[in-house]
Point group: none
Chain length 196, copies 4
C-alpha cells in the first residue's frame, strides 16, 4: 500500500519538479510517512526513480501496443486520427505518467541517459511499426496516394511529437483540440489520394 502510494507521489513530483528538484522528504510527506520509511521499499532515490520510470514507460508502451491491435476494420483516416486522439486520451487519463515520460525522454538525468536512450529507441520502433502498418493499409485501400511509405511515417510521427509538446504548454483544452484537428487535417490533405 505505502509502496504504491510512494510510487504515485514520486511519479507526480519527479514529473513536476524534476529529479534534483524533488526531495525524498516531499515524497514521504505527500504519503504521510517519514523519509526513512522510503528505504523499506526502495533501495535509494535512484531506485525509486527507476521503478517509477519503468512503470511510466510500460504504461506508455502498452498504450502504443494497443494501437496496432484495434486498427483493423476502420478506414485509414479514422485509424490515424485515432492514434492522435488516443495519445491525447493518454495524456488526459494519465497526466502524471505523461509528464514524466515526456520530461525524462527529452531531459534524462545524467545517470539515466543510456537506459533512456535504449528505452526510447525501443518505444520509437514500436510506434513506427504501428504507424507504418496503418499507412500501408491506407494505401492498399487506396485512401492514401501510392508513394514511398517512410516519408509519410516520418511526418506523422512529427505531428505526434508536435502535439506532445503542445499539450504541455497550451493548457487550454479547446485550443489543444483545435490544434490537434488542424494538424491532422493538413497531414491528411497531404497524404490522401484524390479519390475521396
Amino acid at each position: 500500500m505505502t509502496r504504491n502510494k510512494l510510487r504515485a507521489a514520486a511519479m507526480r513530483l519527479f514529473g513536476e519538479k524534476g529529479y534534483d528538484g524533488t526531495a525524498l522528504s516531499e515524497i514521504a510527506k505527500e504519503v504521510g510517512v517519514k523519509t526513512p520509511a522510503i528505504y523499506a521499499f526502495y533501495e535509494n532515490k535512484e531506485d525509486l526513480f527507476m521503478t517509477v520510470f519503468r512503470e511510466a514507460m510500460e504504461s506508455y508502451n502498452t498504450y502504443i501496443q494497443e494501437l496496432s491491435e484495434e486498427q483493423n476494420m476502420t478506414s485509414a483516416r479514422d485509424s490515424l486520427y485515432r492514434v492522435l486522439s488516443r495519445q491525447y486520451e493518454f495524456y488526459q487519463k494519465c497526466p502524471e505518467e505523461s509528464v514524466f515520460v515526456l520530461r525524462y525522454m527529452v531531459f534524462p538525468p545524467a545517470f539515466l541517459k543510456e537506459t533512456i536512450e535504449e528505452a526510447f529507441l525501443q518505444s520509437d520502433e514500436l510506434l513506427t511499426k504501428a504507424i507504418e502498418e496503418l499507412i500501408v493499409h491506407g494505401m492498399e485501400t487506396e485512401a492514401i496516394r501510392d508513394q514511398p511509405v517512410q516519408p509519410l511515417v516520418d511526418s506523422f510521427l512529427n505531428v505526434m511529437d508536435g502535439l506532445s509538446m503542445q499539450y504541455f504548454y497550451y493548457t487550454s483544452r479547446e485550443i489543444y483540440e483545435r490544434k490537434l484537428n488542424n494538424a491532422f487535417e493538413t497531414y491528411w490533405n497531404g497524404v490522401r489520394s484524390n479519390y475521396n
Copy 2:
C-alpha cells in the same frame, strides 16, 4: 569578461543538467574561478539564471523576428521551408541557447512559471504572426490553396514543435534532416494549391 564566461557556462550547464541539478560551484569551476566570484556579478543563483534566461529568450526571439524581415521576395514554399531550416540553423549554431529555451519553456522551475508563461505567449504570438504573413502571402500568390488561414498556421507550428523535440532526441544529423524534409513535404502537399 568573467561575467560573460559565467553566463555562457551557466547557459550550458543549466540547459544540460537543469536548475536544481547545477551547482554554482560547477559553473564557477568551468570558468576557472571560485564560487563566491559569481556574487560579484550576479545577486544570487536565481539572478544568474534569470539573466541567462532573458538572454536565451532574446536570442530566440531575434531569430524569429528576422523571419518576417526576409520573407519578401521568395516564393511561399521557399520561405516556409526557410523557417524550418532557420530553426535548424539556430539549433546548430546556438545549441546551448536552444536546449535552454526548450527545457525551460516546457519545464520551468517553480519560481519562473509565470514569467516564462508570459515570455512564451509573447514569443508564440510573434511567431504565429510571422507564419501567418507567409501563408497569407502564399495565398495571394496562389501558391497555397485558398482556405481559412488559422488551420494552416496551427499545423505549421505543429510541424515546428515536432521538429524541436526531435532535434533533441534524434542525435543523427542525417536522420534529422530527412525528418525535416519529409515533414515539410507532407505539410506542403497538404496546403498547396493544385496549380503547381
Copy 3:
C-alpha cells in the same frame, strides 16, 4: 540455535570491524535472519556485545586457568614454553575470540572501559600467578637461576604480550613461529641457571 549463531556472528564481526563499525543488520544477515529478530534474544546492541564479551573473556580465562593445572610434572623450561604455545594454539583454534579479546582489551568502547579494566586486571592477576608458580618451580628445581621472581614474571608477560600483537600483524605462520621460538630462547637464556 539462532541465539548462538548470533553470538558467533557478533563475535566475528565486532572483532573484525569494531563495535561502531558493525551494524546489527550485518550480524543478522550473516545468520540469515532479519534485524529485529536479534531483539528476541538480546535486549539491545550493548547487551549482545556484553554477552559476547563475557563469553570471550571466559574462553580466554579458561585457557589461562588450565595452565596452572597441567604444569606439574614437566620441566620449567618446557612448561614455560608450553604457555607460549598454548597461547598460540588458542589464537589458532579460536581466532574470533582472540581478536575480540585483544581488540577490546586495548581499545574498549567508552561504555565498557571500567568493566573491561576490571576484567583485565582479574585476568592479568590469574596469569601472573600461574607464571609465577612456574618460575618458582623452575628455581626450586634449579633450572632457573636463583634471583628475585617478579622481574622474571614481568619479562615473561612482556614476551607474551609482544607475541600477542605480533600474531595479528605477521600473518605468516612460519614467521610467527620463528619469532615465538626466538623470543622464548632469548628469554630462557636470560633466566636459566648455568647448570644446563
Copy 4:
C-alpha cells in the same frame, strides 16, 4: 590554523574512539567550528583520516630513523636500552600519535587495510635494520655473545611490541617503568657475552 587544529583533534578522537566511533561533528566541536567547515580543508572523513594517518606514521618513522643516527659512540647495552626508552619517550611526548599508530596498525578500518599493511612493513623494515646494526655493533665490541643475529633482533622487537601493548593498559607510570627495565634486563642477560 583551523586546518591544523582539525588535524590535532582528529588525531586525538580517532585514536581514542576509533574511526566509526568518531563523528565529524565532534571533531569540529572540539575546534570550535561547525561541521561543514571541515570540508574547506579535507575532502571528506576518509581524507581527514588519511592525512592524520600519514602524519602519525611520519612522526613515528622519524623517531625510528633517529635511532640509527645516534647509536655510534655508546655501548651496545646502552644503545639498545636507549631504543626502549626512546619509544617510551615517544609515547609520553606524543600520546595521541602513539595511540593512533598502535590502534590502526593492529585494527585498520577496512578501507585502509592495504595501505596500512604497506606502511607497516616499511616501518618494520626500518626498525629491524636499525636494531640489527646495534646488535652487530654489540657483537663486534664483544658486548654481545657471538651468535646468529636474527634471533636477537626478533626477540628485541618482541620486547618492544610487548612494551607497546603494555603502555596502553598499564596506566601507572611506575609499573610501566619497572616492566620496561625488567624486560630489558632479562633480554640483555639472554644475549650478552659473559665477559662483562
